[in-house]
């Protein structure tokens, strides 16, 4: 049995394609079963988010499963295959395992390290188990994937740093004020930039929003949106005295806030710290304001610089995460292959044992006068011969199982000795107990 991943993501397909292939939540169950009932497919799971549509499957043969799954995608969504075939990736075994691990660890995400994907993949897996389309192989694969995601989260700091200007602003505010709760933000300017930044702060816990603008009406309108308070532009000092965080984004061609004014305000508010964010270009706040004690001034470039540091940091962490993924892929593949070798060995032994028993019985029935001792030595002799014969090939097979090139040998043995009609059944049986233990983790 082979693992197959077929799908497309934000890198391989434009939004127009992704949205047409996305699965609706209400018909996911049906879709899972439709895919599961394809002749070459034994287990299925569907991951459908705004950035990716992917089918994970366990198939008898990848060569047959690929076209079947492609056709299923096309017919299910009523989209001709040639419109999206070039956007698809069809991954088998090693590539498939690596892909699933990377997706779960958020290494394949648009923003590496973003945490939502793990929840989405868990939900997709739960639906597949509920619907009964998942099976031993996918169970094992997904449990390993969750384990990999956990390792990446705890062993690297990939998701620890903010990588957008707004998030950096919130993070900085937390470093200065501890928490945003009960804090007041003053928006200077009522433009879109101010609104956006304020929205992030408010969702971060800011309590009160003050808005000031040259045109009072626009300040009032924006203030209303945040249940805040408009302040006439002439009384900006009043606002500054009350605010913990100031976001300035006006079209002014010269500095609105100067060193002297901010220093004066800080004295008046007994040095209560103030965090000024200047996102206007040209700047609204004189850079020297940053030299005032308890005033922290960040402009657009400063924020961007922090973002860049964090991105660089993330990339470094991503490399470490990739190493973890590679390590886990090797482990998984090793497990998967050993599954195939073990039943082969068992079947081979059983086959030889059967022949031995049959032949021994024939001989013994021809010589009923044999004593118990003679019978026992015949038993021992035949057993020893079989063990000796099997020793070398089995050692080799077990060893190859670890090297990961056992497929050829297994295939040859299965054919040479006509070992079993359906080896996959044994694989499935073997996989079950391990999965039970994984689930209870």
């Amino acid at each position: 049995m082979e693992l197959v991943v077929i799908g497309l993501n934000h890198e391989t397909a434009p939004l127009e394609i992704r949205e047409r292939l996305a699965f609706q939540e209400h018909d996911l169950k049906d879709a899972l079963w439709q895919a599961r009932s394809l002749s070459s497919v034994k287990e299925t799971m569907i991951l459908s988010t705004c950035n990716r549509v992917e089918i994970y499957a366990a198939a008898h043969e990848k060569g047959k499963a690929d076209p079947e799954l492609k056709h299923f995608l096309s017919s299910h969504h009523g989209l001709p295959l040639d419109e999206f075939e070039r956007n698809l990736y069809c991954l088998g075994e090693e590539e498939a395992v690596r892909h699933v691990f990377r997706v779960a660890a958020s290494l394949d995400s648009m923003v590496k390290g973003e945490p939502q994907i793990l929840g989405q993949i868990k939900a997709a897996y739960n639906l597949a188990t509920e619907s009964g389309t998942s099976g031993p192989l996918l169970n094992k694969l997904l449990h390993r994937a969750f384990h990999v995601a956990k390792r990446v989260r705890t062993e690297t700091r990939i998701s620890n740093s903010a990588v957008s200007v707004s998030f950096v602003a919130v993070e900085l505010a937390r470093k200065i004020f501890g928490s945003l709760e009960g804090k007041t933000v003053l928006l200077i300017g009522a433009g879109e930039m101010c609104e956006l930044a304020a929205r992030h702060l408010v969702s971060g816990g800011i309590e009160k929003v003050l808005v000031t603008n040259r045109t009072y009406g626009r300040a009032a309108a924006l203030a209303q949106e945040f249940h805040g308070e408009p302040i006439p532009f002439e009384q900006i000092s009043q606002g500054l005295k009350r605010a913990d965080i100031v976001i300035s984004s006006t079209g002014s061609s010269q500095y609105l806030l100067r060193h002297g004014q901010v220093a004066q305000i800080l004295r008046e508010r007994k040095q209560k710290p103030i965090f000024l964010i200047d996102i206007a270009v040209p700047r609204d706040i004189e850079p020297a304001v940053n030299d005032i004690e308890n005033a922290y001034l960040y402009n657009m470039d400063d924020l961007q610089q922090v973002v860049n540091q964090n991105i660089k940091h993330r990339e470094k962490e991503a490399e470490r995460a990739e190493a973890i993924v590679s390590e886990e892929v090797v482990k998984f593949l090793h497990w998967h292959r050993s599954l195939e070798v073990t039943p082969t060995i068992i079947a081979l032994r059983a086959r030889f044992e059967k022949i031995r028993k049959q032949e021994l019985e024939k001989t013994l029935s021809l010589h009923p006068h044999f004593s118990d001792r003679e019978r026992q030595s015949l038993e021992a002799l035949t057993s020893a011969i079989i063990n000796k014969i099997l020793h070398e090939p089995l050692t080799l097979l077990k060893q190859r199982g670890q090297d990961g090139v056992s497929d050829l040998y297994v295939d040859a043995l299965q054919n040479l000795f006509k070992l079993s009609e359906n080896p996959d059944e044994t694989v499935a049986e073997e996989a079950k107990p391990e999965d039970a233990s994984l689930k209870s983790e």
Partner: protein, 273 residues
Amino acid sequence: MDVLFFKLAALFYFLGTLAYLTYIVFLKKAFSKGALLVVSLGFASHTAALLTRYAKAGYLPVTNLYESLSFFAWMIVGLLLIGHLKYQIQVLGAFLAPIALIFMLSALALPKEILPLAPVLKSFWHPFHVLFAFMGNAVFALAFCCGVMYLIQEHQVKTKKLGAITARLPSLKVLDDLNYRCLTLGFPLLTLGIITGAIWAEYAWGRYWGWDPKETWSLITWFLFAAQLHQRLTVGWRGRKAAIMAIAGFLAVLFTFLGVNLLLPGLHSYAKW
């Protein structure tokens, strides 16, 4: 017996220091948990050392430099545990544990015999004087750590370098708040320490105040903290200035405690060794 407990405590503090420093490097929860456990064991052992010595000597064991250092370290570790458990500031350990360890190691090098109590120390007021003074000192040690962390963190934020260090330190607000809390707690303790000391001096030497170096320096220290408190309440000396004052204040505390004993001759010099 007490010295054995003391050595055991020093060993635990050493391990705890290592664990806290490892924690601050790797930021793995397991290390801070381990550090907390080890330091708690050390604290228990240290407490046992103090109690057994108290039982054996029959007086509060803070009569010579070995005992004082040990007592000082014990107080600091107590504050560390409070900071870790109550305020959840785990990195505090990486600063306080080494300070406690240094005091422990210095104490190890000093004579540890239990001697008959010097007549001048046989006073109802002496234990109170020492208790208040050292409680104040330990609180100021905590303020000192907060001050150092504040200056580092503030520098990072001001210069826009939000790297590995920023992630490891608490927010400016938390550090400044804790500094202020230490000030409001430490200052009354120091004041009480000086007052009880003066009363004791009246019994021991027949005068409340005699401008002995220890007395002079404790007064200087007192003025430093008084000034800090005053400025904070009136013109809002907080943040950076408060951090610098906390550091200066603790250095004055250290000099009053150790420098005066070791460098300047005076009535307190019985406590030299």
